[in-house]
Symmetry: D2
Subunit: 119 residues, 4 copies
C-alpha cells in the first residue's frame, strides 16, 4: 500500500517519535494535551483578533507563514491526543462528516448557519 | 498516485464539498473559522475539565466516542481554515516538526517541558 | 454611595478610559473582544498545561504573578466586552448564581460534577 | 466599610459558598478551573462565530441574555481560580492597567493595535 505524504497516521507517527526521543510521554497525557491544544488555538486566535474579516482573508505573506505554523501546532497536538486516546482521527472525521450530512440536510441548511437543533 | 484513506488533502476536499453544497462559503471566512475552531476546542476541553489525569486517560467507551467526534470537529474546521488561507497543512506540520527538532534538541529537552527560550 | 476598590463598574470604567485615550474603540467591537478574551485564556492555560494538579496548586511566586496578570487580562477584556454589549456583568453573575442554585440543588449535586441535565 | 453590589470580593465569596455547599472544592483545583474557564470562553465564542462584526454588535435581546450568562460563567470561574490561587483579582487588574499604560504609551499606540514589542 502506498501512503501519501499527507497521511494523518504518518504525521502522528513522526510526532510520536519526536516525543519518545525526548522522553515526553510522561507529560503527554490526554488532560495535558487537551490544554496544549487549547493554548495553541489561543495563539492562532491572537493573529486574527483585531483584523477585519477582509484583512483576515488577505494575510501578508510573513503572517500567513506564522499562521501556518500555529495551524501545524494545533494539528500535531490533536494527533498526539488521538494517539494517547487510541482514536483513529481520520475515521472519526469521516464518521462526523456522515453525521453532519444527516444533521444539516442540504434543503434545510442551504445558506443558513442555524444550529441543527433549531433548523 | 494512490491516496491513502487518511489523507489530509482528501478530508479537506470532502469538507469543502460539504460546505459548497450548503452555500456556506459565505460564512467560512478565516476569522469566523478560527472562532469555530476555538469553540470546538472548548467542547473538547469540557469533557476533560473535572477528570483527574488518570480518569482522562481511561475514558468510558461512550465518552471516548464523543471525544473522537469533537476531535473530528477540530480537524474539520482546521482543514477548512487552511483551505481558505491556501495553507498546505501537512507541509506546514512537517516544517513545524523540523523547527521543533532545532528548538528542542534531544540532549537539552530530554525529560523536561521547559519552553525552548528558557532551555 | 461608597464604591469599593474592587468594583467591577470601576475597573470597567478605567479600562474604557484606557481604550478611549488610545482611540481603540474602533477595534473593540464585540466579535474582536471575544477573540481577545479567548487568546488571553489560551495564555493562562499555557502556564498550567504541563503541570500536575498538585504542581498547579503550588505555583512558584514568580509564576503566580504572571498568572495573576493573565487573569487580569481575561477580566479586563471581559469587562470591555460587557461594556460594548451594554451588559451589567455583576448583575449577570448574580442571575447566573441564582440559576445555578436551581440547576444544581445541594441534595443532588453534592460531591458530584455531573452536568445538570444528567443529574 | 460599605461594599458595593458589584464587588469582586463579594461575588467570589458567593461563588465560594456555592461550591462549599456542594462539596465541590475537591474538583475546584486550579488546573481544572483553568479548563472550565476555557470551556466557558468557548461557549461564549460559539455565539459570535458566524456573525459579522455588525451583527455581533447588535445582538437580539434573547441572545444578549444568553451571552450575559456566559460572561457570568467566565467571571465566576475566574474568581474561583483566583480564590484557589490566593490572587487578588482586582489588585492584579490595577497592576495590569498600570503595566499596559507603560507598554502602550498614548503617543505611540494611538489608533493602532500593534503589539507593544513591535510598536
Amino acid at each position: 500500500m502506498t501512503i501519501s505524504a499527507d497521511s494523518l497516521h504518518n504525521l502522528g507517527r513522526l510526532q510520536g517519535q519526536f516525543a519518545a526521543q525526548r522522553d515526553w510521554d510522561q507529560f503527554h497525557n490526554p488532560k495535558n494535551l487537551v490544554m496544549a491544544l487549547a493554548a495553541e488555538t489561543g495563539e492562532l486566535i491572537e493573529h486574527f483578533q483585531w483584523l477585519t474579516p477582509n484583512e483576515a482573508a488577505r494575510l501578508p505573506h510573513g503572517i500567513r507563514e506564522e499562521v501556518a505554523l500555529e495551524c501545524a501546532d494545533v494539528l500535531l497536538y490533536l494527533l498526539r491526543l488521538c494517539d494517547r486516546l487510541d482514536i483513529d482521527l481520520a475515521a472519526a472525521a469521516r464518521r462526523k462528516l456522515a453525521l453532519n450530512a444527516k444533521k444539516y440536510p442540504v434543503a434545510k441548511a442551504r445558506g443558513r448557519m442555524t444550529k441543527y437543533d433549531k433548523l
